[in-house]
Every structure is written in structure tokens, then in C-alpha cells.
């Protein structure tokens, strides 16, 4: 009883035998990490018995959207080569994530895309020409974000994530059962805004879903140089939210995981971080040369795990898709592409005076002066021309 040796002074008057080691006074057990941990390996549905549980209509819809998305990527890439787009960051190979993100949301929900996610916006119903406005360069955002509840494409990485959290939080304060789904890439997870957004979301229990498309590269930098985390999905645990790991080329699995996360958020369960393992088949953009940082062999292994191919095989094997169905999907995609091509080949009508129209609710005196200057220059130009 009296044998313990300690340099700690007993408080005066304390009973000598009452001492017990205790945790620090402020400490208390917090969230149990176990239920937050992601799957041990990426969740897959295609090729498993779970496909039988999926709604055949959803499967067919996913297939049609994937085919359309693949054709959209090809067309946008072609438009870039023709000089009709300033730049196009392709999602060829990532169509399952793009499409599933759009389809997992209800109309009243909000999508927060990164600059690469025009396909998700198109799959949600946005006019492709409006989706591509930023990349054509005739304006920054080609649509009213409130119309389809799609935030402007965000070029600064991960900065749209706190917007999604704030919007979801505001909706919840108002009593609306609206969910925000925010998209980011593997590189974006290194940004401070990723951390702050996830932390705010968890603290506020905001109804938001974060979808990380881990496509292997941030332009040229592979994931190994981006993070030492066990997986990106594991990062969720540190914030006190569940992490999910899914095969990003399995459209049905991505749709399932996102739908579960959206439902959970809508019911007040708080945020979820989803990491979808996928691959960027094309270079970062048309301006990039991917052969400088990766071999063809790697690309070929991913081509064999192509999201369109995987779904097509599964549906064909299950008798949910036949030659007619494939042809109908291809024709639908071709019609979309032809229409997009035709519209993008027309020069956009630009009014340079728009440059001053929306900087403030009302032009400042200085902007009125500068607008008058440009007006005079334009008038002189047209007189000379």
C-alpha cells in the first residue's frame, strides 16, 4: 500500500490511500472508429450475385447514360482538337462515377462538380453546350446554378467542397431535406479545403456526400506522392464520418454506395466520404502528354476494366441487353453528339459589354467610366471595319 514511489506531491489533506491513476480530466471517449472504417477492398456489384437485387430499369438506364457519356467525352475531345473548346479534361474511363453521381441525387438536391465533371452535370440534365461554356471560353459559367441545382464548375481544387457543406447546412437549418454531393479528385484531397470541408461537415452533421474519384493521377503525380493514408476513404475516420471504398468502374456499385450515403444524409445521419477507384484513360487534358509519366501497359489493364464494357457484359449475360438495346443506346448517344457538334460549330454570340454587367449589383462609377471607354473603342472598331 505504501510501496508506490512517486515524485508527485500529495495535495494537502488528501487521503494517502485514495490515489488512483485516472485519465486527464477533459478526456472522454468519442466516436468509435470501427463502424466508420471503409470496406477492406473496393465494393463491387457487377460479377456478383448482388446484381440480381438491382432494379433492371436502373441497370438499363445506367448503361444508356454510360454509352452517352463515353460518346460525350469523345465528342468534346474532338471539339478541342478542332479548336472549338479551349481545353477539355476528359472523363473517359470514369463515366461510371460521373453518371452514378448524377443519378444518385433527387431533383431538389445539389451537385458540386469539379472542373472535370461536366459529364455529371450533363447526366443530371444540364444542356451540354451550357456545361462546356467554361471550356469553350465564352463565359465562366454557362448556366444558372439554381435551375438544375448544379454549382459552377470549380477550377481551384477542392474549394467547392466547403460550399457544398455550407449549402447543405443552410438547407438543414431551413428544414429542407436537401442533400449536396460534392466531387473531387485524388489530388484534391491534399488541399486544405478538403480537410476543412470534411471537418465542418462532420461537426455540423451536414447532409453532404463527398465523392473522391481516385483516377490514379493528379496530372502526372501518382497517388503514392499524394498521400500515405491506408486509402483516401480512411481519411473519413479522422473526421468522425464513415468512409466507403468502391470500384469506381462498377456503375452499379458506385450508384449503390452513393445512394446509401445520400439517403443517410437525408435522414439526418450526416456526411459520408466515398472513394471510387477508377482510372483516367486519357491524358489530363488535350494539353498533357501522359506518356511522360505512365506506360501503355498500365492503361491497357484498365481498358480491360472499362466501366462501359463491364456493365455491357453483365447486362448481356443476364439477358437484360441485346443487340437492339446496344444499338438503341449507341444511336441515342450519336444523336446527342451530332447535335452537340452542330451547336458547338456555330460561333457564340458575344457582347463585350457583358464584361462590366455583373461585377456588382450596380456598376461603380469607375466601371461606368471603363464601360464607356470600351463602348467607344467598339464603336470606333465597327466604324473602321
Amino acid at each position: 500500500m505504501q510501496q508506490r514511489s512517486s515524485t508527485v506531491q500529495e495535495p494537502p489533506g488528501a487521503a494517502r490511500d485514495a490515489y488512483r491513476p485516472t485519465p486527464p480530466p477533459a478526456w472522454r471517449p468519442r466516436t468509435d472508429p470501427a463502424p466508420l472504417l471503409p470496406e477492406a477492398e473496393p465494393l463491387r456489384v457487377l460479377g456478383t450475385d448482388a446484381v440480381a437485387d438491382a432494379d433492371p430499369e436502373l441497370l438499363r438506364r445506367l448503361y444508356r447514360e454510360l454509352v452517352r457519356g463515353r460518346r460525350y467525352n469523345a465528342q468534346a475531345t474532338a471539339l478541342t482538337k478542332q479548336g472549338r473548346l479551349a481545353v477539355y479534361p476528359s472523363t473517359t474511363g470514369q463515366e461510371a462515377c460521373e453518371v452514378a453521381a448524377a443519378l444518385a441525387l433527387e431533383e431538389r438536391d445539389w451537385l458540386f462538380p469539379s472542373y472535370r465533371d461536366t459529364l455529371a452535370a450533363v447526366a443530371r440534365g444540364l444542356d451540354p453546350v451550357q456545361a462546356l461554356t467554361l471550356l469553350r471560353g465564352d463565359w465562366h459559367t454557362g448556366y444558372d446554378p439554381r435551375e438544375h441545382r448544379i454549382a459552377p464548375l470549380s477550377t481551384p481544387l477542392a474549394t467547392q467542397l466547403p460550399h457544398a457543406v455550407g449549402l447543405a447546412h443552410a438547407a438543414r437549418l431551413k428544414g429542407d431535406d436537401v442533400v449536396a454531393l460534392a466531387m473531387v479528385g485524388d489530388g484534391g484531397t491534399s488541399e486544405g479545403d478538403f480537410h476543412e470541408a470534411l471537418n465542418f461537415a462532420a461537426v455540423w452533421q451536414a447532409p453532404v456526400v463527398f465523392l473522391v474519384q481516385n483516377n490514379g493521377f493528379a496530372i502526372s503525380v501518382p497517388l503514392a506522392k499524394q498521400t500515405a493514408a491506408p486509402s483516401l476513404a480512411h481519411k473519413a475516420v479522422g473526421y468522425g464520418m464513415p468512409g466507403r471504398l468502391v470500384d469506381g468502374n462498377d456503375a452499379v456499385a458506385v450508384h449503390q454506395v452513393l445512394t446509401e450515403a445520400v439517403t443517410r444524409a437525408r435522414r439526418g445521419g450526416g456526411p459520408t466520404l466515398v472513394e471510387a477507384i477508377t482510372y483516367r484513360i486519357d491524358a489530363h487534358t488535350n494539353a498533357d502528354d501522359a506518356t511522360r509519366y505512365r506506360g501503355d501497359g498500365e492503361v491497357e489493364t484498365w481498358r480491360a476494366h472499362d466501366p462501359v464494357l463491364l456493365l455491357e457484359r453483365e447486362l448481356t449475360e443476364r439477358g437484360l441487353l441485346d443487340e437492339d438495346g446496344r444499338r438503341a443506346a449507341a444511336e441515342e448517344a450519336e444523336t446527342m453528339a451530332a447535335r452537340l457538334r452542330e451547336r458547338m460549330n456555330a460561333d457564340p454570340v458575344l457582347d463585350p459589354m457583358d464584361l462590366f454587367a455583373h461585377v456588382y449589383a450596380e456598376k461603380t462609377a469607375q466601371l461606368r467610366e471603363q464601360a464607356a471607354q470600351l463602348r467607344a473603342e467598339l464603336d470606333a472598331e465597327s466604324e473602321a471595319g
Binding site: W139, H140, T141, D144, P145, R146, A151, P152, P156, T159, L161, P162, H163, A164, V165, G166, L167, A168, H169, A170, A171, L173, K174, A180, G192, D193, E196, A197, N199, F200, V203, D354, A357, H358, V359, Y360, A361, T364, A365, Q366
Partner: protein, 343 residues
């Protein structure tokens, strides 16, 4: 917008003089009472009432959903405020100190200032970023910066700074009511400045973008704002002993800039000195001097001079008095306005 009627019971007849901090608190309080979409958020703004007590009592009166203690992350605070504004709220964000606002710069510059323009007016950003700024309070490093030039250089923002208790109320009400984002710079060494302003009869909501002549004079114009206004007023009084009758213009709004009031004054006096704490090189004074020279050249008897902070990182508190523009430095500049040549 008119003078706001108070909802509070009448205070004791002889109300104590109010401070700028109290006027700012009252402005938020009245805005929150009138408009349920106004939300205050920031570090320590709730239970504590802010480190300067400017949000004192708001969480108690309106609840923590309306006056929210956020995690300690400025980019996250402003980033989530952007999302809240996208959903129709009017966030009033507090940055705890000038230099602590820097992590939020990307959100401010890349999103807050551009969202309206980017979306052709479909998505305005009706939010206020309150930033206590400037020195003179004996603050250690990162607690005394004059960061206004950074904000002024960003199109799409309004940049407003009160110098009086009355304006603190009137301008903050206007900032919260504005459909454009406002960086609201609060001169922290004037937080405890007092006036007879009474929360029971709040001042009028002031329009943003209007400078005001604080002292009429004929010899030269001191152009200033925020924490330097009291310095200029004192300098103007002292200058009478030298036979100078100085006019003092309080800009109140750096963006939009009130060329009209400033130039009307300079044309009357023919001489001008711009006074601010912010570093001179690349500071607001350069822009102001250029604007005045471009517009008033033929009325000027002397070059427009600047009295500014030195081009150094903000000094440690025991040396800050050497850095801050004081009355003597202002009077020295006035003395250099080529009086012999002009007379």
C-alpha cells in the same frame, strides 16, 4: 433605408456613451432581428461574444444556429459561408484578426468576389467579412496588419471601413443589406472609442461608396479613413497654430471609391495628403494619389503626398509607435506642400 426603430425597452434617461464595438454589435443585432436570413459565424463569436466582444449576446438572443462558433479554420468559415449564401442566407463572417484572415483569401478571391460575375448575376454573394484591422493596440505579431490593399486589388469586392461610432452602425447595416460581398474593416484601436451615439436611437443606414468631409478647411485636404481619421483630425487642429486650415475627408469606402467627394475637396484646397497605416508601396495611397492627380492636375499647387506605414512587416508592439503615421508626420507632409511656390 431609414433610421431603425428599436425593439428594446427604453434605457435609463442618461445613456452612457457607446463604443464602436457596441455600435457594431447593435448593427448585427438589428439586422438579425429584421431578417431571419442573417447569420453570424466565426471563431469564438458565440458563447464568448468574440475576442473583442463585438458579437456579445447574439448567440443568446438568436440561438447558436444564427450566431455560430465554427471550427478554427478561416478558409472553411468563408467557404461554408459561400455555400450558405448560395442557398439564400446572408452570412456575416468574423475573421478574428487581420492576419488570421489570410487562409480565407482563396475563397475570397477565387469565389466570393467572382461568383456574381461568373454566373452572369444568377448567384450573388450577399455576405460580409468583418475583419478587425490595423495597429496601435500593442498586439504581438499577426495582430496589427493593415490588409486593405489586398482587398482593394480584388474586383468584385466592396471594401468599407468606419472611423466613427455612428458609421460603425450605419455602414455595417448597409454592408449586411448589400447584395454584393463586403469586406468590412474594423479599426480595432477604435473599438473602444466613444460617442453619444445611442443604441436606442441608432444612426441612419449609410450608403456604401460615399466619402464624407469631417472637417472643413481651405489650405489642404487630408484624405484618410478608419484608424487614421482621429490622427488627421488632431493634426488638423494642431495645424491651425501654423496657420493652415486643413480639410479632412473620411473615405469610409475604399471600394467603391468616391472620386467625386475627394476631388471636389482637392479642387477647393489645391493640395492633398493621403494618410494611412498600410504600407506606402503598393498601398491605397498610391491609387488615391494617382486618381486625384489624373482628375485635379490643374487645381494642384503641389504633388499629392502620402503619409503611410513604412514598407516593413508590421513592427513588434514596443516599436510600433515609430511605424504608425502620427500627427507630426502628417504635419511634416503638410509643410512640404510647396507653400512658398504656390503663394
Amino acid at each position: 433605408m431609414t433610421t431603425h426603430a428599436t425593439a428594446r425597452p427604453a434605457a435609463k434617461a442618461a445613456a452612457k456613451p457607446a463604443t464602436m464595438a457596441q455600435a457594431l454589435q447593435r448593427a448585427m443585432r438589428d439586422a438579425m432581428a429584421e431578417d431571419p436570413t442573417v447569420h453570424v459565424m466565426g471563431e469564438d463569436v458565440g458563447t464568448l461574444g468574440g475576442v473583442f466582444r463585438v458579437t456579445d449576446g447574439l448567440a443568446k438572443e438568436f440561438g447558436e444556429d444564427r450566431c455560430t462558433d465554427t471550427p478554427l479554420a478561416e478558409a472553411g468559415i468563408l467557404g461554408t459561408a459561400v455555400g450558405m449564401a448560395m442557398y439564400g442566407l446572408r452570412p456575416v463572417v468574423e475573421m478574428q484578426f487581420d492576419a488570421f484572415a489570410y487562409p480565407a483569401f482563396e475563397q475570397l478571391i477565387s469565389h466570393v468576389s467572382r461568383m456574381r460575375n461568373r454566373t452572369r448575376g444568377a448567384m450573388p454573394m450577399p455576405l460580409v467579412v468583418r475583419v478587425p484591422y490595423g495597429g496601435g493596440i500593442g498586439g504581438v505579431e499577426h495582430h496589427s496588419d493593415s490588409s486593405e490593399a489586398y482587398y482593394m486589388a480584388t474586383p468584385g469586392l466592396h471594401v468599407v471601413t468606419p472611423a466613427t461610432v455612428e458609421d460603425a452602425y450605419g455602414l455595417l447595416r448597409a454592408a449586411i443589406a448589400s447584395d454584393d460581398p463586403v469586406v468590412f474593416l474594423e479599426p480595432k484601436r477604435l473599438y473602444w472609442s466613444k460617442s453619444d451615439w445611442s443604441p436606442e436611437a441608432p444612426s441612419a443606414v449609410e450608403p456604401i461608396g460615399k466619402a464624407v468631409v469631417r472637417r472643413r478647411g481651405t489650405s489642404a485636404t487630408l484624405i484618410t479613413y478608419g484608424p487614421s481619421l482621429p490622427v488627421c483630425m488632431e493634426a488638423a487642429e494642431a495645424a491651425t497654430a501654423e496657420g493652415w486650415d486643413l480639410e479632412v475627408v473620411d473615405l469610409r469606402s475604399l471600394v467603391p471609391f468616391d472620386d467625386e467627394t475627394v476631388c471636389a475637396s482637392v479642387r477647393r484646397t489645391g493640395r492633398a495628403v493621403v494618410v494611412h497605416e498600410s504600407a506606402g508601396f503598393g498601398g491605397p495611397g498610391g491609387e488615391i494619389a494617382a486618381r486625384v492627380t489624373e482628375r485635379c492636375f490643374h487645381h494642384l499647387e503641389a504633388p499629392v503626398l502620402r503619409v503611410a506605414g513604412f514598407d516593413i512587416p508590421y513592427p513588434p508592439p514596443m516599436l510600433e509607435r515609430h511605424h504608425l503615421p502620427g500627427v507630426d508626420r502628417v504635419l511634416d507632409a503638410v509643410a512640404r506642400l510647396q507653400w512658398e511656390a504656390g503663394s
